[in-house]
Symmetry: C2
Subunit: 243 residues, 2 copies
């Protein structure tokens, strides 16, 4: 069913949902008609509506049911990635949104070939739209926050605000992802740090260790930098009963 | 480290690896030099070698160590997908190879928009090359078999050759993926069936149930058809201690 978030310019008042701005344009693309059903999500609840009025500027829909959004996992997971090249960023945002990420951040690490440069505001706005599209398509209750971090240190700090800060590393002394997750017991939040194409430098992994992150292995297979986040996130969702 | 499979035209004899055919061309692309190290994988063992001779037709390398391939998971997982549109097929093959799939099959189901038509031999050969590239890159011990099946019934039969045949379905009576996996206990093989863009028809799910497959939910979020297989495979790998 078509899904709209209040962030998109829509609003709800007196049992009526007003689909405005970009969302009205989106509704047009969807060829919505009087009587069609749609969902307006306020971040916590899904408002099930029936379209009652359509104009070029807005779509009005009557709310007939309000239910808690089912699409949100019980674990808030932060995805923190060393900036990859090209459209891999788009890919990570789309797939991790589908898989239930709460926040998706990119940072520059030592081996990053891509650079966080140019009109970042414009880039992040585009990334945020990718997250919104994926959130609508996959039935999420919230649109994941997408953004950039100054550096690896900031990524470590963000990761350490969660119950389970995981640093995915391909060599050296590590524990299996499963062992780290099971040792953590009941968690309400987690963070998954992954590197760019070239992975992390040993000193970056050492820094992560010193900062208290769990240095983890995703098994003997080497994942591409755009595959690792969604694979690890899927494992976390499975482990915490969200898949 | 550069990785070659015997399937690529290479061979090993008397402690020397002979990189031939397409692999020799690949070695050229990699700019291998005398003294460089590479791995030749025979499907079960990794032969660690040092390059000793390079000609336009072949690369010879001396085997200095033979170790069991570490890249293969303990569970043989079959990926069975309703044929999606465009490059989603390539995507599923690449990502599922990285994540440890043993076989990847595509079939036509009721809601498939894409068709298994044209020069399928040529298409499958191209798909197999994508699997080989991903296997090399991710350090797999074998190249997953990629192919097409006549229909959904054949997919069900393939799935039923495994210890845990899973049919991913978005509505109706289902059990959580986690419950199905945990109920199966120790498994040595599994199958993941996923639908095309439009998902499966209710009668297809009913048929799966009658055929003895486990009808599973991947949680309240709706995965895109190209994301579901790698997400479910990651969960299986995690659950069976392979990630």
């Amino acid at each position: 069913m078509p899904r709209f978030f209040l962030t998109g310019g829509s609003s709800i008042a007196g049992g009526t949902a007003f689909i405005l701005g970009e969302d009205a344009a989106h509704a047009k693309v969807l060829r919505l008609r009087i009587g069609d059903r749609l969902i307006v999500c306020d971040g916590g609840q899904d408002h099930h509506c029936t379209v009652t009025k359509i104009t070029p500027e807005e779509v009005e829909a009557e709310v007939f049911d309000v239910v808690p959004c089912q699409g949100e996992p019980s674990v808030r997971t932060l995805i923190l990635c060393g900036l990859p090249k090209g459209d891999k960023v788009d890919y990570i945002i789309q797939k991790c949104t589908e898989a239930g990420a709460a926040e998706i951040w990119f940072f520059q690490s030592h081996r990053c070939v891509a650079k966080l440069s140019g009109d970042m505001e414009k880039k992040v706005a585009r990334w945020q739209r990718i997250a919104e599209e994926a959130a609508k398509q996959s039935g999420r209750g919230v649109i994941p926050t997408v953004g950039v971090l100054d550096d690896l240190a900031e990524a470590f700090n963000k990761a350490n605000t969660t119950d389970l800060p995981l640093f995915m590393y391909e060599t050296g002394e590590r524990q299996a992802l499963k062992d780290a997750v099971e040792a953590a017991g009941e968690i309400r939040s987690a963070a998954i740090l992954t590197g760019p194409e070239g992975g992390f430098e040993p000193f970056e992994a050492e820094l992560a260790r010193v900062m208290g992150l769990k240095i983890c292995s995703m098994g003997p297979r080497i994942f591409r930098c755009e595959t690792a986040p969604v694979a690890a996130l899927s494992a976390i969702m499975y482990a915490t009963g969200n898949m």
